[in-house]
Symmetry: C2
Subunit: 349 residues, 2 copies
């Protein structure tokens, strides 16, 4: 809340860039009182801001290039002056508190690793998403930054996720679950069997054991650690299934006149519910483990989603998530090293 | 339909064994006209049948042992006289047309592989499940038989699933999708990138490219091939998400009196809908690639679910799914071998 540096908003990334991104910046500034700088093509952004009469409220930082949504991770290397790269640069220089982008996830992850670098002791940054459980969201990570991981990374994801759950959701001593295909320790593939061993008794982690796909939305654990391939498939499957259930329901409701009457009565509650399930409304995913706060908004985000992502980014920065992760990594690294080596873990770094 | 051999029903497997299993057998015999033999402890089963006045309608085959739900796959080796092993034996001897069990999936898979053996040319049997898409179900496999696979196995799962989609759902030339985390060919981990190469232009397969988690319920493809780890996580995540959406909905509906009225009006349609989404109602998963038809009913199955599983098993047996897979494997094996070796694929078996 005491943060006065602006959020660096990548104005060129996203399905509805730049217009919905600019509209989101205007919303964040006017409705939420958050300082924002737009990063992108000055001419285009100036015109878009003019549509909102906001050319004097929101500064623009020039970036002549942009990563296309369908460009692979390698494009990040070829475009040191892309809008996302410049946004990272602003954070690195201390001119912005956090980055928000609705651009391609692979592009954001690669550019973030390149420009902000991983925090000391962090093997790989991971994408954390909030699942709509009650009373607090459960944190799932990695949701797609790392398709291939080592068991030690799943332990680190647990640390990253636990720090985030503590800071963002106020959960003390978060319970960590390992996503796999059976609740017994010996279930799963080699990766998760080894990760299970490492997590068990791992210092600083409250390991609650294996969890399965149907546990993700029950609130059984506060943090779910998994590789980016499985996590991404699970997240998208969940979104698809909720969308499916609602579509089916909508059809069931509108099919008879009596039913339509019932639907009208329920409309207000259903609208509320839909909003809570909507991935966009709570701002986006967070890339944890870099020297800077990075929020990845949904590619399809419109103004409201972008504004919510700016709120999330500013809050995480104000809460000091990067420092908290740094301290946790430093505090556990010695005991981890000892513990891992005594359990035959590979030495990484 | 011309099948007159009974279904061999493992009466000792499942959360509600033996009573709900026996009740399911009685339902299958009386309501569906399907011949069934119960496999398990004669004393226990005789008593359970007596409760239904059915001791003369349904034969019992003795099995003195049973696999516990929480026993690992190795227990199958230690228990050659378990109810699931005896049920497989009846199929192998030609005394039953198919096996149905609601026991532990790992136990069924291991026992099935051991007692029925894999079909010639099949590297690994796979568990196929129907997803509730329209107009026809989409087939997802492997849903959990193989946590670790090779790329070539994903191609074979495509063949197994396509045969099943043709026979069970009447789909000509089924479209096959590969489950991964991006629609472009280069997305995913090493396994799926290699499988993508192999599937492309693979003889006998209509490959529709990569699919993601949110495509599973849209009916975009008819068959989804994936490893058993990812498939199991996706399936359980989907079940959990649909359950979650309904629980949220139910709560939204009952919270006010007006809403309750609306709910009453919709009750019949909602019930219908729930049934279609309910994994149990359509019988269960099918273990494909063995020398015999094996249906894995949901562990929590009650009588109706068991009866539906018996129907599915008898129908698949009558449709000749084992022969159809055998023919497809024989027909494609030569062209596959040539094609694989020219594309640098590993030679397996």
């Amino acid at each position: 809340m005491s943060e006065s540096r602006p959020v660096a908003l990548d104005a060129m990334g996203g399905d509805h860039a730049p217009h919905e991104i600019v509209a989101g910046a205007v919303h964040a500034v006017r409705e939420r009182g958050l300082p924002v700088v737009l990063v992108g093509s000055p001419r285009v952004l100036y015109e878009a801001l003019a549509d909102h009469d906001a050319t004097k409220e929101i500064p623009i930082v020039r970036a002549e290039e942009a990563l296309e949504m369908d460009e692979g991770a390698l494009a990040s290397l070829r475009r040191p002056r892309s809008s996302i790269a410049i946004a990272c640069h602003l954070v690195r220089r201390g001119d912005a508190c956090a980055v928000v982008s609705a651009g391609s996830t692979a592009g954001i992850v690669t550019t973030g690793r390149l420009r902000l670098k991983g925090q000391q002791g962090v093997l790989r940054p991971a994408i954390a998403v909030d699942l709509p459980t009650l009373p607090a969201p459960a944190v799932l990570l990695d949701a797609g930054a790392n398709a291939e991981v080592k068991p030690e990374m799943l332990v680190q994801f647990a640390h990253l996720g636990a720090t985030y759950a503590e800071l963002a959701h106020g959960i003390e001593d978060p319970k960590v679950g390992l996503l796999t295909i059976g609740s017994e320790a010996e279930k799963g593939d080699k990766l998760v069997r080894r990760a299970h061993e490492l997590l068990q008794g791992s210092p600083g982690i409250t390991f609650a054991g294996n969890v399965e796909g149907h546990d993700l939305l029950t609130g059984k654990v506060d943090v779910i650690t998994t590789d980016g391939f499985t996590g991404n498939v699970a997240l998208k499957t969940m979104e698809g299934a909720v969308r499916y259930a609602f579509a089916e329901l909508r059809q069931a409701i509108s099919e008879s006149r009596l039913a339509r009457l019932g639907a009208a009565m329920q409309r207000s509650r259903l609208r509320e519910l839909h909003r809570r399930l909507d991935a966009e409304a709570h701002g986006g995913a967070v890339l944890l483990g870099l020297n800077g706060t990075v929020v990845i908004a949904h590619g399809a985000s419109r103004a409201q989603g972008i504004s919510a992502a700016c709120r999330l980014a500013a809050d995480l920065s104000a809460a000091g998530v990067v420092n908290a992760i740094g301290e946790r990594m430093a505090a556990t690294s010695r005991s981890h090293r000892l513990w891992w080596s005594s359990h035959g873990g590979d030495r990484l770094e």
